[in-house]
């Protein structure tokens, strides 16, 4: 039973990781990457590592996502539905001005 649960969580994590690599929108990719951290938190609880799970939740899922989000905002990539090519062109415009 628990094997299946873990299997599903691992699958979700891998899907999240793939999505983080492949999605055009970087905000969505960041969210997908934080799915990996969340899945990892659950797995650490199953592995009897409550300390690590807490750290992963606080640092990996929380703080790291916050840092990445602040970075996105500052890079001007905080856009909900713009494909990344347009974003890149934008970024270039900004850099030139």
């Amino acid at each position: 039973m628990i094997e299946w649960l873990l299997f599903v969580i691992v699958m979700i994590m891998l899907a999240g990781a793939l999505m983080a690599m492949l999605m055009e929108n970087l905000l969505a990719a960041t969210v997908a990457a934080s799915i990996v951290s969340l899945g990892l938190t659950v797995i650490f609880v199953f592995l009897r590592a409550p300390d690590v799970a807490m750290t992963e939740a606080a640092v990996g899922a929380g703080l790291s996502s916050l840092i990445l989000a602040l970075g996105l905002k500052r890079l001007g990539l905080w856009k909900l539905d713009v494909p990344s090519t347009a974003v890149k062109a934008d970024a270039q415009e900004d850099g030139k001005s």
Binding site: A58, V59, G62, L63, I67
Partner: protein
């Protein structure tokens, strides 16, 4: 060419790791030092949480190194982001909405208390300086999100940061000069499971928590500052 070699490399990597599944003792590790720590950890450090015993006792230097890495990253980040000019007042952002502001005011004391609780109970329950420190950092960063016009007091932050780091090393040095070994656990072990037990470990974790909190809050505040070059 680059792509091809990358794929080749990844394929080899995957192959290596899948070969390993058959060799490694998955789920049944040899646990040599792990067993020794389980047998003596409580009597040697007095911490009920053995991970804390390892983090602050047996491998205290790793933790010191880790603190220094965070410090180095924050310092280097500050160096990279420093522009020389004084920061322009971030007036472009209007205040966040009422809900966020009220929530920030309400949450601030709660987060501080929760963070300190987690830090201080690190030797008894899961959690400790790092986890609590992150919560403390969140607590001090929250007002900045709610009211972008406020600035963090970097002087106080670097003071807290410097002295909590110095306290960690200082406790280590007291051990060195009084008992001959750096970071030797001092004070009485007390009764395992009580708050005032485990000798100096809670003090060390307090130093870790304050340092991590101050450093990360400073880092977040740095990242949150407006670019003045684009303006």
């Amino acid at each position: 060419m680059h792509q091809f070699s990358s794929f080749l490399f990844l394929g080899g990597f995957l192959f290596f790791l899948s070969v390993l599944t058959g060799i490694l003792p998955l789920g049944d590790p040899p646990m040599i030092i792990g067993q020794a720590i389980q047998n003596h950890g409580v009597s040697e450090t007095g911490a009920a949480n053995l991970v804390t015993a390892v983090v602050l006792g047996y491998r205290g230097i790793d933790t010191l190194g880790e603190l220094s890495i965070l410090f180095a990253a924050a310092t280097a980040g500050g160096l990279v982001l420093a522009t020389g000019k004084k920061k322009t007042q971030a007036s472009a952002d209007e205040d966040a909405g009422f809900i966020v502001k009220t929530a920030a005011e309400l949450l601030f004391p709660l987060l501080v208390v929760a963070g300190l609780y987690i830090v201080i109970h690190g030797h008894l329950t899961p959690g400790g300086g790092f986890q609590g420190g992150v919560i403390l950092a969140a607590a001090f960063f929250l007002p900045l999100l709610a009211k972008p016009s406020t600035t963090m007091n970097h002087n106080t932050m670097s003071l807290v940061e410097g002295f909590s780091g110095a306290a960690f090393i200082g406790i280590g040095l007291i051990g060195l000069f009084n008992h001959g070994a750096f970071l030797q656990p001092l004070l009485s072990k007390g009764v395992v499971g009580e708050l005032f037990s485990a000798g100096t470990l809670p003090l060390l974790y307090l130093a870790v928590g304050l340092k991590v909190g101050a450093e990360l809050a400073g880092l977040l505040a740095n990242l949150n500052e407006e670019d003045d070059e684009n303006v």
